[in-house]
């Protein structure tokens, strides 16, 4: 089909089916039911998993169709947030690394919104240094038993399945003793607790695993090969962040250039120049992202350069929230009721650090750009050739 026809058809479908009201962040139970119903319609219409292999339930189309749909969808705020981890990270990892049995069992329900996924890598003692994680998976009859704690887990309170990274061997260096699993979030021994963040809301959860059984066929990739599997997932994460999968557009963003130009006094030359600065930075990053997308289409894989885009997005996010609140003045920080202009700005400045921390901090992004794009020499490492059980941890030695 002609791309323009595809776009027209997608637009018509969205106009007829996209919910009118705004959906923001993690919905409640009713919201999840509505989101699942929408996702099923989206899938049945052929707009979920546009580039994913047909064999596993995707549409088998190209980036061109995906971009065409995304461009049309950017005009709406679709209730796809609870599926974003599955669509952006877990699903692509299974497509790349899963067994045919796993792909056959998990991909279609993921794409159709029947099963919500979360990602279980980070721990209280393993953030930037995620390979230092301590959650243990011990081999048992027919599978594995998991004990430990995970944190920063988006949408876990609604999740049916999780992509888990756990330690299966403490006798080898830390990157070599990890294994990736699919875990049933409804299994006995899984406890999900909301984690209230600085915005006052619970965007994340803490997950406790207490003797949780995982069947052997749920190992993703090979036992002991979990680190390279996780790298695949994280690569998809950075790409999905910088391309805005499930993040909504800038359409409703009260601190983006388009909103500020109408809400501030541009008669003041200082304000005018600050808005120019915001425009310049926004446009510079948008053009960089478009260039990366064109290169990908031309067969040049962006690789670690995606980390530069993610770093720039984090800096822009902080800059624009900071600028918008400063331009607005006192009403950004004290306002009647919950919503209104002030509420939007206060929320933006509260939420701004998230982009600089989630999916790899700015410092980790700079390490990646420095070492994998510029090929600078790595930091000397004292943790690479030592058995995991002999390494330091923040709270003492690992058990």
């Amino acid at each position: 089909m002609d791309l323009e026809d595809y776009r027209q058809r997608a637009r018509a479908w969205l106009e007829a089916n996209a919910p009118g009201d705004r959906a923001e962040g993690t919905p409640d139970e009713n919201g999840v039911a509505a989101a699942k119903a929408f996702m099923a319609k989206l899938y049945d219409a052929g707009y979920s998993g546009i580039t994913w292999p047909q064999r596993w339930g995707g549409q088998g189309l190209t980036q061109a169709e995906e971009r065409a749909f995304a461009a049309e969808a950017a005009r709406f705020t679709l209730p796809t947030y609870v599926f974003s981890i599955g669509l952006g990270m877990c699903g692509p990892t299974l497509v790349d690394l899963g067994t045919d049995e796993q792909r056959g069992r998990f991909i279609r329900p993921l794409l159709r919104g029947e099963e919500i996924w979360c990602q279980l890598f980070s721990e209280p003692g393993a953030g930037s240094d995620v390979a230092a994680l301590q959650t243990r998976a011990t081999a048992t009859d027919g599978g594995w038993v998991v004990d430990g704690q995970k944190v920063w887990t988006s949408v876990a309170q609604h999740a049916d399945r999780g992509l888990l990274l756990a330690r299966t061997d403490v006798e080898v260096p830390k990157h070599k003793g990890l294994t990736m699993f699919v875990v049933d979030m409804h299994a006995p021994g899984v406890t999900v607790r909301p984690l209230r963040d600085m915005t006052g809301r619970a965007h994340f959860n803490e997950i406790f695993f207490d003797g949780v059984h995982i069947p052997a066929e749920n190992v993703v990739g090979r036992v002991g090969d979990g680190w390279s599997c996780a790298v695949t997932t994280l690569l998809h994460e950075r790409l999905s962040i910088s391309s805005g999968v499930g993040m909504g557009g800038q359409k409703d963003n009260p601190v983006a250039f388009e909103a500020l130009r109408t809400s501030v006094d541009t008669g003041d030359p200082v304000v005018r120049d600050q808005l120019v600065e915001l425009y310049v930075r926004s446009r510079a990053l948008a053009l960089f992202n478009q260039r990366l997308a064109q290169e990908t289409k031309a067969g040049i894989f962006p690789g670690a350069r995606g980390s530069a885009a993610k770093l720039l997005l984090a800096e822009l996010t902080m800059f624009q929230a900071d600028l918008a609140t400063s331009l607005a003045g006192p009403e950004a920080v004290a306002y009647p009721g919950e919503g209104g202009a002030g509420g939007g700005l206060a929320n933006a400045i509260s939420l701004a650090p998230a982009m600089a921390l989630g999916g790899g901090t700015n410092e980790i992004m700079r390490n990646i750009v420095g070492e994998r794009v510029l090929n600078l020499p790595p930091e000397p490492r004292t943790d690479k050739n030592v058995p995991f059980k002999d390494l330091k941890t923040s709270g003492g030695l690992p058990s």
Binding site: V280, A284, R366, P377
Partner: protein, 325 residues
Amino acid sequence: MKLVLTTEQQELRQAVRGFLAAASPLPAVRAAMESDGGHDPDVYRRLNGELGLSGLIVPEEHGGSGAGYAELAVVLEETGAALLPGPFLATTLAAILLREAGDKELLPGIADGSTVATVVLDGNRALNGAEADVVLSIDGDRVRALRGGERTPLTTLDPTRRQALVEPGGDVVAASAEGIARARDLFAVAVAAEQLGVLRASLEAIVAYGKVRVAFNRFIGSYQGVKHRLADMHCKLEQAESIVRHAAWAADEAPDELAGAAALAQAYVGRACFEVARDSLLLHGGIGFTWEHDAHLFYKRAKADEVLLGPPRIHRARLADLLEL
């Protein structure tokens, strides 16, 4: 929108890069800048003869190659990265002005490399104004050309490229209000392309140094205090290149977007180029402050380019006007 080079454009880049690496490496740049003329006439002749670069954007009916601004940007990035001394940018600005304003008389001489031309900028300054055969000036919606006239060489911060006070005026050679307005935007794009090259070369120099310079028994590039700044400089390079490709594409294929893209190019790339050249120099340590090290040549070219078309605020003000702020 085209932000990725075609195979032909990559080949052009390799040809120019290879030529400059052989004919005008940095030691040759230093020799040229200290010579009486300020550049090596043989290099300039070969650039125009063997590579045909002075005629790159001159229409075919006037003896040029009729290439687009995307190709010109590729070439200027390389001449910028090499800090090529001499009147290439000056003659290129003249070619842009004449092409856009519809000249027929002067373009053939520029295309075959026999005419060195320049354009009068604010304050009656002109790049390579002392050695140019023809000085072009903008007079309302007309372009005037003067051979001869008063020429007073200026002392320049950037030792790799000369400037002079010149006399505007002479015969009208072309007239087009629209063409002249477009030419002014294209000057911004051309300078941004050169700045992209200066930025890239400055970053490459310090990245290479970070891999060989040792302090405290480690290569300095392994320290996060250095590495993270280089990563930030790389981010500037990525955005600068995207902006230059976009502006060059707009020049060729989207005339309505040219003014905004050109103002953005100067507002972003001019600053980014100086910042990267500055940080490259600083991260070299004390050696970067010496005359014999090349870091100061990039630093000075970056500053000279940043203010070449006027104080940087004029590009930001133009952007504000175009955005109707």
